[in-house]
C-alpha cells in the first residue's frame, strides 16, 4: 500500500487550483442563479440609468449616454460577480468543508485560488452577456481588439476584487457578515465614482476620490477603448490598481485563511 507519487511544487499547486476551480464551475453551472445575479444587476443598472436618469444626465453633461454608461455597467457587473467569491467561500469555511481539504495533500491556497479563478471565468461570461445587452441599447466598441482589451481590464478588476472578498471571508467566516460588510466598500466605490455620471459637478474632494479610485479608473479606460479615444493614463492606471490590489489581498487572504 503506497501513496500515489505526487507531482510536487508549482505543478502540483496549479493542478490543485484547476481541480478546485473545476469543482466550483460545476457547482456554478448547477446553480445558474450565481451567473444571473451579476447579469441581472448589470442589466438593472443599465436600464435604470438609461431610462430613468439618462435623459437628464445626457442633457446636463452633453454626452452620448449609451457610450458613457455601458462601460460603467460592465465594471459594476464584474464587481457584483466578485462579491460571490466572498459569499461562497464563507459558506465553505462556516461549515468546516475546508477542514477536510486541509488534511489532503494539496496546496493550501488552492481552495482560495480555485474559487477566484472559477468566479473570474463566470464573470467573463456575465460581462459578455451584459455587453450584448448594451449592444441592443446602441453601445458599440470601435474594434474587436478594443472590445477584448476592455473585457480583459474589466474581468481583471473583478478578479482583484474576488481576492478582496476572499480576504473578508477568510477573516469573518460567516456568509451573513460577508454580505453586510461588502456593502461598506461597495456603495462608496460604486456611487463615489464616474460610473453613472461625469464627476465635473462633484465637490473637489469627492471628485478627487471619484476620479482616481480603481473602479472609476477602469471604467475610464473601458470608455476610452470603446470610443477609440485617447486613454491617457487610464489603462496604465487600471493595470496598476489591479496589480496593487492583488499584491495586497492575495497574501492577506492566504494568511487569514491559514490562521483559521
Amino acid at each position: 500500500m503506497t501513496a500515489a507519487e505526487l507531482p510536487s511544487g508549482a505543478k502540483g499547486a496549479l493542478l490543485d487550483v484547476w481541480t478546485m476551480a473545476r469543482r466550483d464551475l460545476i457547482r456554478t453551472m448547477r446553480q445558474p442563479e450565481y451567473l444571473s445575479f451579476s447579469v441581472v444587476m448589470g442589466v438593472f443598472f443599465l436600464v435604470l440609468f438609461e431610462l430613468v436618469f439618462g435623459g437628464v444626465i445626457a442633457a446636463g453633461a452633453g454626452i452620448d449616454y449609451d457610450q458613457y454608461l455601458v462601460p460603467g455597467v460592465l465594471v459594476i457587473t464584474a464587481i457584483t460577480g466578485a462579491l460571490q467569491t466572498g459569499n461562497t467561500l464563507a459558506v465553505d469555511l462556516e461549515h468546516g468543508a475546508d477542514k477536510r481539504f486541509r488534511s489532503l495533500p494539496m496546496s493550501r491556497m488552492a481552495v482560495l485560488a480555485g474559487r477566484t479563478v472559477a468566479d473570474t471565468i463566470r464573470n467573463a461570461v456575465a460581462v459578455g452577456l451584459v455587453a450584448a445587452v448594451g449592444y441592443l441599447f446602441g453601445f458599440r466598441f470601435v474594434s474587436v481588439g478594443a472590445a477584448v482589451a476592455a473585457l480583459v481590464l474589466t474581468v481583471g478588476l473583478g478578479y482583484a476584487f474576488s481576492w478582496v472578498n476572499a480576504a473578508i471571508a477568510a477573516k469573518v467566516r460567516s456568509a451573513e457578515l460577508v454580505g453586510m460588510l461588502s456593502m461598506f466598500w461597495l456603495f462608496p466605490l460604486m456611487f463615489g465614482s464616474n460610473l453613472f455620471t461625469p464627476t465635473v459637478a462633484m465637490p473637489a474632494w469627492v471628485k478627487a476620490f471619484a476620479d482616481n479610485q480603481p473602479i472609476s479608473v477602469v471604467a475610464t479606460a473601458v470608455r476610452a477603448l470603446s470610443n477609440g479615444a485617447d486613454p491617457g493614463l487610464s489603462i496604465a492606471g487600471s493595470v496598476g490598481w489591479i496589480a496593487a490590489l492583488l499584491a495586497v489581498f492575495i497574501p492577506l487572504s492566504v494568511r487569514l485563511y491559514r490562521r483559521g
Partner: protein
Amino acid sequence: MSAPVIVVEGLRKAYGDVVAVAGLDFTVDAGVVLGLLGPNGAGKTTTIEILTTLRRADAGRATIAGFDVATEPERVRRVIGLAGQAAAVDDRLTARENLDLFARLYKLPASVRRARVDELIERFDLGGFADRLVATYSGGQRRRLDVVAALIARPPAIFLDEPTTGLDPRSRLGLWEEIRRMAADGAAVVLTTQYLEEADRLADHIVIIDRGEVVARGTAEDLKKDLGRDVLVIHVTDADDLPRAAELAGDGVDVGTDVGHRMLTVQLAGGPPQGLDILKRLADAGIPVDDFQLRRPTLDDVFLTHTEARR
C-alpha cells in the same frame, strides 16, 4: 511484525490554561481499529486534529507511516484519510463527482481515477445514488460518502472523528460494516466515538481518555474483565424481605436495594461462586425469589467507573 502505522508518544496540547491533551501515548498497527473513547471535551477531536496535521501539538511526537506530523505534514497528508463530523462532501456535486474531486486532489493519475471511483462505489454499495446530487441524500447516505471519500487513495492510516454521531441505528450498522472492511483491507483506523456500543463492536483496542489523559486501555474484553465484578440481580417476591436479603448477602459486599422493583443488586467481587453462595443462603432462609440474573459488566460500567472516579 512490521512497525505500527501510527505512533503517538507523550502528545500534549493546551489552549491557554485549558489542557486538552495531557501526555497521550498509543500505537496502532495495520489492520487494527483503535477506539478513542471519552466524554465530551476529553480531547478526542484535538488528538485527531493533531494527527491529521490540522493542529500542532505543544509537546510530544506522533508519526504516521514513519512521517512526523509536526515536521513532515505534507508527507503525512499523503498517507492519511480523514472523515469528520462535519460532512465535507459537496451538496451540488454527485457522489461520483465528489469522489473524483478527492481522487484529483490526491493526484491519482487520470488512468486509475475512474476505476478507483467505480470500485469504491461498487464496494461500498453507493451505486443506488452515486449519480444523484448529494443535496438529495439522507443523513446516512451522506455520511457514508464522507467516510468512503477518505479511502480514495488507499491511505494506510484512516481517522474517523465520531463518524456515526446523529445517525439512525440502521445507518450506523451500515457504516460499522464499512469501517470493519477498511481494517480488513489493512488500514490502521483510529475511531473516536461517544457510543460505547460502537467501540465494543468495532474496536480491537480501546483507549479511554478523560481530560486529555489515558484512564484505561485494552481490548473491550480486557477492560470489562479488569473491572472484574459481575453483577447479580435478584427480584424477591415480597419487598419486606429486602433488608433481610441484603443482610444475608454478606458483610463488606456492595449491595443495592430497590424497594419499588423488589430488586437486590450485588457486585460480585468473588465472581459466580459468590453468587451461588448468596442464592443458597436466601433459599436456606426461606426467602422466596421471583427470578435472578448474572450480568457481565458492560463497557458502560467500565466507562463510567473510569471517567466518574475522577469527577
